[in-house]
Symmetry: C2
Subunit: 199 residues, 2 copies
């Protein structure tokens, strides 16, 4: 219901009407609406991780692998914006607020891209630095892009002729890699390398 009809549709009464039960069902099984939402976002994080795990590791070109991961990140946010909003956007759904343990699940997914970043550093593609800082830097970029797109702030018709949001992401990723130490040429090559091979 959250994914398809949005946060407003996810109410206790609508929910129990759907399954043909009374409001009590929510409280015997979950305790409260926030607790129910918590289970929903558990499922959301699982779906997210599942998508990320599908990206093949690439020891020869970890930067291309990283780019593929970034595409999957945005694609998830675009595919399930309402879920993404609750997972990372701090959307207050039925009084639900993110918990420390919830956020730990969010931070946990960073392990995947960090791994690629570490390998990019080992290969000399990225400047030697704290990989956790770098992956968070990338996170800011990805969350910012995904969230601004979700809220309608970032739209294709703002980007000038012929530039779509997919192209914009490419641009952002290339400049990120350059900022991390890669050359413009190598980054552009890895971008092309990673283009077709998501999933």
């Amino acid at each position: 219901m959250l994914a398809e009809r949005g946060p407003a549709a996810l109410s206790a009464r609508r929910l129990v009407r759907e399954v043909g039960a009374s409001t009590m069902a929510v409280y015997t099984h979950f305790g409260s609406m926030p607790a129910l939402v918590r289970e929903v976002i558990r499922e959301g994080f699982a779906r997210f991780m599942e998508r990320l795990k599908k990206v093949r590791t690439d020891d020869e070109d970890p930067v291309a692998e990283l780019f593929a991961l970034c595409r999957v990140y945005r694609e998830f946010a675009v595919a399930e914006p309402h879920v993404y909003a609750v997972l990372f956007g701090g959307s207050g759904l039925a009084g639900f607020e993110l918990d420390d343990s919830d956020r730990d699940m969010g931070v946990y997914v960073l392990r995947v891209p960090r791994d690629a970043i570490v390998r990019a550093m080992a290969l000399g593609r990225f400047r030697e630095a704290d990989s956790w800082l770098v992956v968070r830097q990338l996170w800011c970029l990805l969350h910012g892009l995904s969230d601004l797109e979700r809220t309608g702030y970032l739209r294709a018709d703002h980007l000038g002729g012929g530039v779509g949001l997919g192209d914009f992401l490419e641009l952002v990723l290339r400049d990120f890699a350059v900022g991390a130490g890669d050359t413009v040429e190598a980054a552009t090559a890895s971008l092309a390398e990673s283009a077709g091979r998501n999933s």
Copy 2:
């Protein structure tokens, strides 16, 4: 009320109780709660612009000016997180949803940093490129950082010893400038240059 007590506190009844009126006051003056929230965010955008306008232009070092603007951006998000959440986070407050004209006000503030970026390109500090694309790239970074900080995902104790969120922003800004074409040395120098002179 939004700024101090959060979105849950901004209800029609609480509001009219505060000013000693009945709920009708909301509807005669604003029409609906979403419309009232719209006026609130108008005020929010105004406050935001006011802060940005306080940053002095610097034709000799537009990159330093840009960095100063970025600090102000984050400082606003930290100072008024609830307001920021409604302005840019797509927080659904009392059924309020961002309008196209609302978003135009948000996009309008981009003019200020874009101006600095154009000058940085003219001086050869930044690679020649579509300045609107570059400023949106920076926006993703700033919004991502501010929003992840607001939702509690980005915390000082995740960044390793001694690195605060202010330091993290510096790092992010330096790498952004490098990604945009600046040298590491010049970017670091502008960072130091812009350090003390906000407001």
